[in-house]
C-alpha cells in the first residue's frame, strides 16, 4: 500500500502514545497522530491542550488549539494557567514538540536563528510558548520535525526547550523533573537517545530511506548502527482512518491523491 512521508510520520508518532496516557499536544500533525492513537492502540489516552481544553472529541480536525471544535466537545475547558500547572504538577505523561533546530541532545530552538544571536537574529521565530514547560516537566516528550541539515544542527542557536542539555546528568542538575526526549520522528526515520550518552541514535529508517540520505540531512555525527531496521509501515487500517475519518481533507497530513 502506498503512503506519503506525512502519513509515515503521523503513524510513527502515534505509536509513541501509550494507552491511558495524558498527552499534551498542539495542533497539526501531532494532533492527528494523537487521534489516530486513540482510534487504534491508545483508546483511553486523554488529550490536553495548553489552552486549557481537556479530552475534546471533535467530529472534524481542529485548526488551532483554541478551535471552537475542541472547546465545544471537551470534557472540561479552563485556561492556560490551569493547563500548564497541571503539567508542572506531574499530571502529563507525554508531549510532542516541533522546532526549527534540534541538536544531538534533543535540545530545541523555536525562538531565533542566525544573525548576531538572540538580540538581533537573522530569523525571529514564535518563541517557546508552552514548549519549554513541556520539555521541562512532562513525563517524557517526542520531537517531530522534518529532517534537514538546517534543522539537525551541531548546536542550537537558542536553547528554547531543554533536551538533555549538554549530556548525562545535566537535566538533573538543572532540576528538571521530566525524563526528557525519548524519541525523534522525522520524514526519514525514527530516532532515540542513548541511555548512557544521551546522544541521538537511529531506531529505524522509514521504508525507502537510505543511511546516506539520513547522514547527509543531519548536521551532527550520527552513529551508524550495525543493523538498520526499517520502520514498520502504516497499516491499511491506520491509513484508512487517517484518510477517511481523522484528516480526510488532508489539512495537516498530505495523502498522495495522484
Amino acid at each position: 500500500m502506498r503512503f506519503t512521508h506525512d502519513e509515515m510520520m503521523t503513524v510513527a508518532t502515534s505509536r509513541f502514545i501509550r494507552d491511558g496516557w495524558n498527552t499534551f499536544i498542539g495542533t497539526g500533525l501531532p494532533m492527528v497522530a494523537a487521534y489516530l492513537a486513540k482510534a487504534t492502540h491508545a483508546t483511553h489516552a486523554t488529550l490536553m491542550f495548553e489552552s486549557g481544553i481537556l479530552a475534546p472529541e471533535p467530529r472534524t480536525v481542529a485548526r488551532a488549539v483554541g478551535d471552537p471544535r475542541l472547546q465545544s466537545t471537551a470534557r472540561r475547558v479552563s485556561g492556560m494557567l490551569d493547563a500548564l500547572l497541571l503539567l508542572q504538577g506531574g499530571h502529563v505523561d507525554f508531549g510532542v514538540l516541533g522546532g526549527a533546530q534540534v541538536d544531538r541532545y534533543g535540545n530545541i530552538n523555536s525562538t531565533a536563528v542566525g544573525g548576531e544571536g538572540y538580540h538581533r537574529p537573522a530569523t525571529r521565530l514564535g518563541g517557546s510558548g508552552g514548549a519549554n514547560d513541556i520539555a521541562s516537566t512532562a513525563g517524557e516528550f517526542l520531537i517531530v520535525v522534518r529532517h534537514s541539515r538546517r534543522t539537525f544542527v551541531e548546536r542550537v542557536d537558542h536553547l528554547t526547550s531543554p533536551g538533555f542539555l549538554d549530556g548525562p546528568g545535566a537535566r538533573e542538575a538543572a532540576g528538571l523533573r521530566g525524563r526528557g526526549p525519548t524519541g525523534v520522528v522525522t520524514d526519514l526515520g525514527v530516532f532515540d537517545f542513548d541511555p548512557a550518552t544521551k546522544q541521538m541514535g537511529v531506531v529505524s529508517l522509514h521504508p525507502g530511506t537510505t543511511w546516506d540520505e539520513v547522514a547527509a540531512a543531519t548536521g551532527f555525527e550520527l552513529a551508524r548502527p550495525a543493523t538498520l531496521p526499517t520502520t514498520k509501515e502504516p497499516t491499511a487500517r491506520e491509513l484508512d482512518l487517517l484518510r477517511t475519518r481523522i484528516d480526510p481533507d488532508g489539512i495537516y497530513v498530505k495523502a498522495d491523491r495522484a
Binding site: P68, Q88, R120, P121, S128
Partner: protein, 310 residues
C-alpha cells in the same frame, strides 16, 4: 478600592483609550484568533499612543498590529505567532532589525510572573525555564528568573519575578456595568492578567443587567472589583472571533497576513483598515452587516455556517 466604585464604570471607547499613557506597559486578552480586544487596539492606533511595552503571552494580534505601526518599544513574551498562518512578521522584522527589544519566557513563566504581581508576592516558584536560554538570557528591565535554595529541604528551585502591566485590556462576551465579566470558553490567561494589572479595562460584546450576571455567577471570570472601565464594543474582537458568538474572518485576517510581507503593504493595510476609518462604528460599517451576520455561530456547535462540520 476601584476608582469608579461610586457607580457605573461604563465609558466610551475613546475615553478608555485616552487613559493609556505613552510609555505604558500593557497586556491584552486573546488566544489564537479569538478574544483579542481589537476594536480597542484599532482605537489605540488611531490615538497615536506609542513607546509601549507589552507583556505578551498569547495576544498575537494586538502585539502584531501595535508593532506594525511602530508603537512598541519592548516585548516580554512567551509566544507570538499566527496559528494556522505563520509568523507575526511585523514583530519578527522589528526584532531582526533591532527596532524593538524582547525578553523571552515560557508560557508558564510569563503567566506566573503576572500571577505573582496579582498575588502581591515578589516571586513564584517554577519547574521550567531552568537550564535553557530562557534562564540565561535576561533582557528585560528587571531580572525574570533566579534560583533559590528551598528552606524546606535540600533542593534548588527556580523562581520568576513579579511583573505587573500598567493596564490589562480584556475583551469579554458579557459584563455588567461594574465590570463583572463572563468569557465563554477557555479564558486564556485573563485570570492572571486582571489580577496583575494596576488598571483593568473591560471591552464587552454586550453590557447586561446585573440579574443576567447573577444567574451565571459561577462563570464570571472577571470580578468587577478589579475593573476600572467598561466599554461596549460589539464585534470588538473582529476580524478575530468570540467563542460562542462569531467566528474569525479568515479572509480579512489573511489579508493582513499577506500585507505583512512588506513594510509598505503593512502600512497600506493599516491606513485602509484603521487610520482611514474614524472609529469602530465606521469599521463595522465597512465590514458590512451581511459579512458580520455570516460570522455568527451556531449556538450548539459554536461554528458559523459554511465553516464545515464541527
Amino acid at each position: 478600592m476601584s476608582i469608579a466604585a461610586s457607580g457605573s464604570k461604563v465609558v466610551d471607547l475613546r475615553t478608555a483609550v485616552d487613559s493609556i499613557r505613552p510609555g505604558a506597559t500593557l497586556s491584552f486578552s486573546g488566544f489564537g484568533h479569538f478574544g483579542h480586544p481589537l476594536a480597542f487596539v484599532r482605537e489605540l492606533l488611531r490615538a497615536g499612543t506609542g513607546d509601549l511595552t507589552l507583556h505578551a503571552i498569547a495576544e498575537c494580534w494586538p502585539a502584531e498590529l501595535l508593532t506594525a505601526a511602530g508603537r512598541v518599544r519592548h516585548v516580554n513574551l512567551s509566544n507570538l505567532m499566527f496559528e494556522g498562518l505563520g509568523r507575526v512578521r511585523a514583530i519578527c522584522r522589528a526584532v531582526e532589525n533591532g527596532w524593538i527589544t524582547t525578553d523571552d519566557h515560557s508560557h508558564l513563566g510569563l503567566t506566573l510572573r503576572l500571577l505573582a504581581a496579582g498575588w502581591g508576592v515578589p516571586f513564584l516558584p517554577i519547574r521550567s525555564m531552568a537550564g535553557s536560554d530562557l534562564e540565561r538570557i535576561q533582557s528585560g528591565e528587571a531580572p525574570k528568573f533566579a534560583r533559590l535554595h528551598s528552606p524546606f529541604g535540600d533542593e534548588e528551585i527556580g523562581v520568576v519575578s513579579a511583573l505587573a502591566p500598567d493596564v490589562a485590556i480584556i475583551h469579554v462576551a458579557e459584563a455588567d456595568e461594574q465590570g463583572n465579566g463572563i468569557i465563554t470558553g477557555q479564558i486564556s490567561v485573563v485570570d492572571a492578567q486582571i489580577r496583575a494589572a494596576r488598571r483593568v479595562i473591560v471591552t464587552t460584546e454586550r453590557i447586561v443587567a446585573a440579574e443576567e450576571i447573577v444567574e451565571r455567577n459561577q462563570l464570571v471570570t472577571v470580578p468587577g472589583i478589579l475593573v476600572d472601565q467598561v466599554v461596549h464594543t460589539p464585534y470588538g474582537a473582529y476580524p478575530g472571533g468570540m467563542y460562542g458568538l462569531y467566528d474569525e474572518d479568515l479572509e480579512l485576517m489573511g489579508e493582513y497576513y499577506e500585507a505583512s510581507r512588506t513594510v509598505p503593504a503593512t502600512a497600506a493595510y493599516l491606513q485602509e483598515w484603521v487610520f482611514d476609518l474614524p472609529d469602530h462604528d465606521a469599521y463595522l460599517n465597512r465590514i458590512g452587516s451581511r459579512r458580520l451576520a455570516e460570522a455568527v455561530v451556531d449556538p450548539v456547535h459554536k461554528l458559523a455556517r459554511g465553516r464545515g462540520e464541527w
